[in-house]
Amino acid sequence: MKVSDPALLLRTAPFLRRNLTTPALMRDVIYALVPVIGASIWFFGVSAILVIVAATAGAMLTEWRFTPEGKGGAALADGSALLTGLLLALTLPPGIPLWMAFLGGVIGIGLGKLVWGGLGHNLFNPALVGRAFLQAAFPTVLTTWALHGGPSDFLAVRGANLAFPLLQGGVDAVTTATPLSMMKFDHNAVPAAALFLGNTAGSLGETSGVLILLSGIYLTVRRMFDWRIPAGVLLAAAIFSGILFLVAPDRYPTPLFTILSGGLLFGTVFMATDPVTSPLSPRGAWIFGAGIGFLVVLIRVFGGLPEGVMYAILLMNGATPLIERAVQPRPFGRGKHR
C-alpha cells in the first residue's frame, strides 16, 4: 500500500508525529545500559563479560533462527533481541554457569516473545521470563552470589562460570550474601552509600544505584519511556516501606534501603518501563507502577524470598490488559457501558 509521491496525500490525525522508531528506541535504551554494563565489568571482571556474551548470544541466535523466514535479519536489526539478552544478563548472578545464561536467553526470546507472535505481542517482559525460568529450574545457582571486587581481580573467573553444559561447576567458589538477604535473614543493613555506589554483592547490573538513576534520567529526558511508571514504583515502595518502618523501625528496613537495594532500581528503569508490557494510558501507568512498588515490598517483607522485583513486574505485566481496560477513556457521548 505504499505509494511514493501521490498527487494528493490524505492522512488521519494525529498530524504531529515524533520521529521515533522501534530501532531508535531500542538503541537509546542500549546506550543507557552502557554505564550499567561498565559498572558490572568493573565490579565482576571477566565474569560479567562472559555472562553478558552468553545470554546475548542465546537471545540473538533464537531470534535469528525462529523468526519467520524473510524477517530473520530484520528482526535482529531492530536491536530488541540484543536488548533482551543484555537485560537478562544484567539480572543474573555473576557466578552463573555460562550454559545457563545462554539457556535463559533462548527461553526468554522463545517462550517470552516468539510464541506470542514476536515483538509487540508478548504479555510478559522477555528478559524476566528467561530469568524466571532459570530461577524455577536452578534455584540454588540463581541465589549463589559470587564475591564482588574491583579491577585488581579482573581476570578471576567467578563461581561456576565455566561449567560444562548440564553439569554443575566443580569449583567451590567464594560466595557472599546480598544486602537483601543480610537484611532478611540477619537484620543487618548495608549502609546506603555502598548501595548507592554499587560496591555490594548482587546481580551483575543491579548493584550501582547511582548509574542506574543516571540512565533513568537520560531516558526520561529523551522521553523514551513514561516517567509515571518509575515514579509510581518508587513512590509506592517508599510509602509502603515507610509505613512499615515507622511501625517497627527495628524489624523493617528504611525506605532508602528498600529503594537502593536489590534489583528495584534496575527493574524499575529498564524492565517495568518496557513499552510492550506496560499500560499506555497515564492513569494506567500510575496504577501499574504503584502495583509493582507495593508488590516488591510485600514480597520482600512478608514473602519467603529476599527479593521480589522480578515477580512483582511479571505479575503486573499480567495485569496490564486489565488495567488498560479499566482506565480506558470513554468516547464522548457514549453511555456508561462500552
Binding site: A136, A137, F138, A163, L167
Partner: protein, 214 residues
C-alpha cells in the same frame, strides 16, 4: 460389519498411534498426562493402567452396545469404566505399592479421563467387538507413547536419570522445575510445538515435490 479386510483392521489400530494420537493430535487426557509424568516409571504405570481400563471397557461396551438404552448410556459407560479402574487400582496396589503411592489419586481419576469415555461414545458404542478392541489398543499405545515421551524427557532433565538409572553422573545440575507441575506444561508445550513444526515441514516438502505453491 459384514465386510472388512485386513487393511481396515490395521487402520483402526494404527490411527491411534500417530494420525489421531490422543495426546499429540486430539489433546485429550491432559490431567494424567501432566500430573504423573515426572518420571519414566510413573508414566509406564499410568499407561499400563489406562490401557487395561480402555481395552476392557471398550470390549464390554461394544459387546453390550445393543442392550444399553440410549438415554442412560453415559452413566452405564461410567459404571463399566469405574469397574475396570477399581480392578486396576487394586492390582497395581498389590504389584507395586510404591508406584501406587506415587500415582495416588490419579489411578482412581482414570474414570474421568476423557480419552476413555470419548472412545466409548465415539467408537465402541458403534462398532463390533474386534474393531473396538483394536481401536482401544491403538489409542492406548498412542497414549503410552506420549506419556513415555514426556515422562522420560522430564526425568532426564529433572533428575538426570531414566527409569532411575543415572545418566550424567553425580555432577548433573537438575532442572528442578521439570519435575514440578510447570515442567509438565513446558515440556508438553515444547513437544506439541515440535510436532507442529515437523508437520509443517513435511507438508511444505510434499508441496514442493508436487510443485504446488504453498
Amino acid at each position: 460389519m459384514a465386510e472388512r479386510d485386513g487393511g481396515d483392521i490395521y487402520r483402526e489400530f494404527a490411527k491411534g498411534l500417530w494420525k489421531e494420537n490422543p495426546v499429540f493430535v486430539q489433546v485429550l487426557g491432559m490431567c494424567p498426562m501432566l500430573a504423573v509424568t515426572n518420571s519414566a516409571i510413573n508414566a509406564v504405570a499410568m499407561a499400563a493402567a489406562t490401557m487395561f481400563v480402555l481395552v476392557g471397557s471398550s470390549f464390554l461396551v461394544s459387546l453390550l452396545r445393543k442392550v444399553i438404552p440410549k438415554q442412560v448410556r453415559i452413566s452405564t459407560y461410567i459404571i463399566i469404566i469405574a469397574t475396570f479402574v477399581t480392578l486396576a487400582d487394586f492390582t497395581l496396589q498389590a504389584l507395586s505399592p510404591s508406584v501406587h503411592k506415587e500415582l495416588g489419586a490419579f489411578i482412581a481419576l482414570i474414570v474421568v479421563n476423557c480419552l476413555i469415555l470419548g472412545r466409548q461414545e465415539a467408537f465402541a458404542s458403534r462398532n463390533g467387538v474386534l474393531l473396538s478392541v483394536l481401536d482401544a489398543l491403538g489409542m492406548s499405545f498412542g497414549f503410552a507413547i506420549a506419556l513415555l515421551c514426556l515422562g522420560s524427557l522430564r526425568e532426564i532433565l529433572g533428575s538426570g536419570s531414566i527409569f532411575g538409572f543415572s545418566l550424567c553422573g553425580p555432577h548433573f545440575e537438575p532442572w528442578v522445575v521439570m519435575i514440578l507441575p510447570p515442567g509438565g506444561f513446558f515440556m508438553l508445550g515444547a513437544i506439541l510445538l515440535f510436532f507442529g513444526w515437523w508437520k509443517e515441514m513435511k507438508a511444505k516438502r510434499r508441496d514442493s515435490v508436487t510443485g504446488r505453491v504453498a
